[in-house]
């Protein structure tokens, strides 16, 4: 109750910092906010050319590959960008934290939310892809009522990013090495998440390798999202419960670690 009241008082700060992060991200660039749209479009074209053309052999039987790829890429990109920025947020706002009382979780939280807003804008690229391929493709995406369930995986993704962001920001204050380790981890995650491949097509026979791949919550989230916007089917309920449970657990661990350690932040930044 006390925390909620404090959060309510500082909601303006949350709003202002989210606003600031979005505004400053594209300041001084000629195309400005248009980049949130252009960047996923261009990188997806690169990925389609690489994995659909040069390395692509088994992709032929897959449903619409550009949409498949874009779904995975958008989710992966949002997750890594927002958690990376949340991780550095405490150290970057050291000048404020050292001088004025502010609830510190505002900083990781606002970074995730700011990224979430640009993520939502970049979803228009996906909408354009879907509309284009729906009318001009021999493998159109199947669009039906299930598309209205697509906010479910997106919300789980947001919860997951907040949780991981809180954990990383707490760790980063005490050990700056986490920044470099996480960079490597994100690269690993790019290959662990089925962005450009399909797990069933890898021909993995070892059960443990397959389970290790499926333990990745991003696997469940991307699959759920694709069910809604590409396959036109209900998402796998096991994926739903696993992703939701995993995300809530990270938030709980994140909040616990953050509250336990936040009074010591100032001595380390």
């Amino acid at each position: 109750m006390k925390y909620l009241k404090n959060f309510y008082k500082y909601r303006y700060l949350l709003y202002e910092i989210v606003r600031k992060n979005i505004k400053l991200q594209y300041r001084n660039s000629v195309l400005g906010i248009f980049w949130t749209f252009l960047q996923p479009l261009l990188t997806t074209i690169v990925l389609v050319l690489v994995f659909g053309g040069v390395f692509g052999s088994k992709r032929a039987d897959m449903v619409n590959f550009p949409i498949y790829l874009l779904c995975g890429r958008l989710i992966y990109e949002f997750f890594t960008q927002s958690t990376k920025r949340a991780m550095r947020s405490i150290r970057l706002s050291a000048s404020v934290i050292k001088k004025v009382y502010v609830p510190k979780y505002i900083y990781p939280l606002s970074n995730v939310i700011a990224n979430f807003v640009t993520f939502l804008i970049s979803l228009t690229v996906l909408a354009c892809f879907i509309i284009y391929f729906y009318f001009f493709s021999d493998k159109p995406p199947i669009i039906n009522g299930y598309i209205f369930l697509s906010p479910v995986p997106i919300l789980i993704l947001l919860i997951l990013s907040v949780g991981v962001g809180l954990i990383l920001s707490t760790l980063e204050v005490f050990f700056k090495d986490v920044e470099y380790l996480y960079e490597v981890f994100c690269m690993l995650l790019f290959y662990l998440t089925p962005i450009f491949y399909h797990v069933d097509q890898l021909g993995i026979t070892n059960r443990f390798v397959k389970m290790a791949l499926m333990a990745n919550p991003l696997y469940a989230i991307t699959n759920m999202f694709r069910s809604c916007v590409l396959y036109g089917e209900m998402f796998n309920m096991n994926h739903f419960w696993y992703a939701l449970g995993f995300s809530l657990l990270t938030v709980i661990i994140g909040l616990w670690a953050f509250y336990k350690k936040q009074d010591k932040f100032i001595l380390h930044i």
């Binding site: 500082y10 910092i17 400053l24 004025v100």
Partner: protein, 248 residues
């Protein structure tokens, strides 16, 4: 009489003085394994107890390293006391360092809203005060320029203008009345004085007993983390002057 503005109750603040700052994993594990992760305890503040009633203006005197800034940080809520407690009743405007909440890439105008939000005020509230802030800071021509291009005096002026415009109930001043040129200094002293008439509680840190006598009606002296004297500003300032002479 309503509740006192600030109650500091047997408050102590301890820091770990580690000789080197350990902030990466490798060092941490090496130190842990070789058992060299030892800290020296340092009590920056030791068993401080005092009360500030609403509307009182308290000067905090003390030599360098006496714990003045630490005390203000604890009262502002930036640091959490190791022992004891601090209770604050009312909206607090910490002016520990003017412009601490500024973002360098943001323009002056945008920073006004950001700084206001840092103190917990809504956009609407700041909009009402906006003209007053700009006028007081004398930065009308530069308000759309990024703050990174401001001089330190301009930054401090803007910070002072925002912090005082919101009319806080408790004002913390850490040697900030030495902002800008003589003209602005006079203006800011007048502003602070006008806030007294509205019953604002003030905590004022200074080395100058003259300034303390000008502004405060009460004073305390800190020395090596201990509260050694408190009472009427005139007596305390006299005591402090004697202490300074004694040191010399």
């Amino acid at each position: 009489m309503s509740k006192p503005a600030i109650v500091v109750d047997h408050m102590s603040m301890m820091f770990n003085l580690n000789k080197e700052k350990v902030d990466n994993l490798k060092e941490y594990f090496i130190k842990l394994l070789t058992r060299r992760l030892h800290f020296t305890e340092f009590w920056a503040l030791n068993d401080i107890t005092f009360t500030v009633e609403k509307g009182e203006r308290v000067g905090v005197l003390g030599f360098n390293g006496a714990g003045k800034s630490t005390l203000l940080k604890v009262i502002a809520g930036v640091l959490k006391p190791t022992k004891g407690s601090v209770k604050v009743n009312g909206v607090i405007a910490p002016m520990l360092e003017l412009g601490a909440g500024f973002d360098m890439n943001y323009s002056g105008k945008e920073n006004i809203f950001l700084y206001g939000a840092t103190m917990g005020y809504s956009r609407k509230f700041i909009e009402e005060k906006y003209n007053e802030i700009v006028e007081f800071s004398e930065l009308k021509d530069f308000i759309d320029v990024p703050v990174k291009n401001y001089s330190s005096g301009m930054r401090a002026r803007l910070g002072f203008a925002i912090a005082t415009a919101v009319e806080p109930e408790i004002l913390i001043l850490d040697e900030v009345l030495s902002v800008g040129d003589a003209k602005f200094r006079k203006k800011s002293e007048e502003k602070v004085r006008s806030m007294f008439d509205k019953g604002t509680t003030v905590l004022f840190v200074s080395h100058s007993t003259q300034q303390v006598l000008n502004i405060c009606n009460k004073a305390i002296i800190l020395d090596h983390g201990k509260l050694i004297a408190q009472g009427d500003a005139k007596e305390i300032c006299k005591l402090y002057d004697d202490m300074v002479k004694g040191v010399k």
